[in-house]
Amino acid sequence: MIELEGLTKRYGEKVAVDHLTFSVRPGIVTGFLGPNGAGKSTTMRMMLGLDRPTAGAVRIDGMRYDQLKDPLKYIGALLDAKAMHGGRSAYHHLLCLAQSNGIDRRRVHEVLDTVGLTSVAKKKAKGFSLGMGQRLGIAGALLGDPRILMFDEPVNGLDPEGIHWIRNLMKALAAEGRTVFVSSHLMSEMALTADHLVVIGQGRLLADTSMADFIARNSRSYVRIRTPQREQLLDALHGAGITVVEAGAEVLEVDGEKSEQIGELAARHQIVLHELSPQRASLEEAFMRLTAESVEYHAHDGRPLGGPEPRQAWGPDWRKA
């Protein structure tokens, strides 16, 4: 169990983390989602006692991080794959961590085996690929057999096989009753692994909800219509009591799954349709809409992200995988 209470980090004038209050529960994977620069890594560093909060507090099983005796036995973290000395072998990297927390040497061999690095245990970490470094970092997180695990962007830069492995590992750890907290800037990734979602933008809490709720609330289905006879269609829809939203020139949108009804209505009134397509807003898009105002670095394509137009861009693929 991790509890954050009014956690705040300011760098001079700039607020990186702004009064975050939420808790991370055991037995499930909690996704920590936010655009780049939202304050996810800063929050995680404060959770580990690496950065000092300007205000607020973090409790790990009710205690401050620096009050934990042998913290690796409570909480294991992968912050970034390069947080190790490149000149040291994988074995010695893990051994020095184990010794500092009074963890048996045997455990080093066990976690090396778990992450599949036994054959390169004596090799220096600087020769490792990103994926191998990530695995070594995860081995370090698992070392103390902790009840809480924290991963910062664990799939970044991994090949598909590595991504698959990490997803399954996180689910397995949560199934064992552990607390699993994982950050990402990709909604699609979270949709596959997380049971619960904490979304932040510009350091502020935007959502703290179960994944199922988030999907139910945000994956709205609607019908997209294009017609040259806009006025006639609007009148016809109003006449049938159907609410319409105008989403740009010539484009109308109707909530719900009413494409048959609208098609028949148009036929009855002899209105020409250029498009009548059922749509489902993706989670990625819902996430972007949620964080749109808080995105710090916009790509300048003349339109803010999450605006009404690019609905189709992300597709509903997240459900299939």
Partner: protein
């Protein structure tokens, strides 16, 4: 020592023995100190015949055999800097502090382990430099039993150890190997010598860590010596520098985000 500190000391020993830089920096310190010391001892012996009476009176065979330390200490400085600052340049510091959140325990365990290793290497080097240097000096040689000689030889080992500790403190303050070496190297190799050889700054210069500390290696004082401290006083001044640097390093580590 508490349980936790014992664990951290053991961990730091694993860290220090599992990187190649430990071997080559310490190895280089030994080789350079001994080789340069022997060379200068041999040259001094040849030069002795051409010296005038005053210089012969001031000739210090013990101190002469330690001449290689001026260069050898630079390798010890690199050792001290790398032990501490590599945590920062590699990113290991975040992993280390997540494992050992008590920052004082972390820093002082690391410094203790590195200091103990530096002390062993420095003592061996100092004794070896003395005996090898005296062997080169032939009939000019001093004996380990002569007045003040054993103090100077042990002092030589302590001097190198304290210089290593000083550089660990500086590295903990600056948190970067390049920055630390960029300041310490010219400081010990150039600035200290320049300050010491100009009349106007000489009085300031002799309170610098290396000039004050190296006083303990002298058996025969130089001509017109008006240094306001003795051998142990000089080592004490160096020790104060060490305390200040380590305290500064501790405060920086304690206060700043990792």
């Amino acid at each position: 020592m508490s349980m936790a500190a014992t664990q951290v000391v053991r961990s730091e020993w694993t860290k220090i023995r599992s990187v190649a830089s430990t071997v080559w920096t310490l190895g280089l310190a030994v080789v350079v100190t001994l080789a340069l010391g022997m060379l200068i001892a041999a040259l001094s012996k040849n030069e002795y015949d051409t010296m005038d009476e005053r210089d012969r009176l001031a000739f210090d065979p013990t101190f002469t055999s330690f001449a290689g330390m001026s260069l050898g200490q630079l390798a010890m400085i690199v050792f001290g800097v790398l032990v501490v600052a590599n945590e920062y340049s590699s990113g290991m510091i975040r992993t280390s502090l997540a494992a050992v959140p008590r920052r004082g325990t972390f820093l002082f365990s690391k410094v203790a382990v590195a200091t103990l290793l530096a002390l062993v290497v420095s003592m061996v080097t100092s004794f070896a430099a003395f005996f090898l240097g005296q062997a080169m000096l032939g009939h000019l040689k001093a004996s380990i039993g002569d007045a003040g000689v054993l103090r100077a030889v042990i002092g030589g080992g302590l001097y190198m150890t304290l210089i290593t500790m000083f550089s660990m403190g500086v590295a903990a303050m600056l948190r970067s190997p390049m920055l630390s070496l960029g300041i310490l190297m010219p400081f010990f190799f150039l600035i200290s010598n320049i300050l010491g050889s100009v009349d106007a700054t000489e009085k300031v210069g002799r309170f610098l860590p290396d000039q004050a500390g190296s006083k303990i290696m002298q058996v025969v004082p130089p001509l017109d010596d008006d240094t306001p401290y003795g051998p142990w006083g000089g080592l004490g001044i160096l020790a104060l520098w060490v305390v200040a640097a380590l305290l500064g390093g501790y405060l920086v580590l304690k206060r700043r985000d990792a």
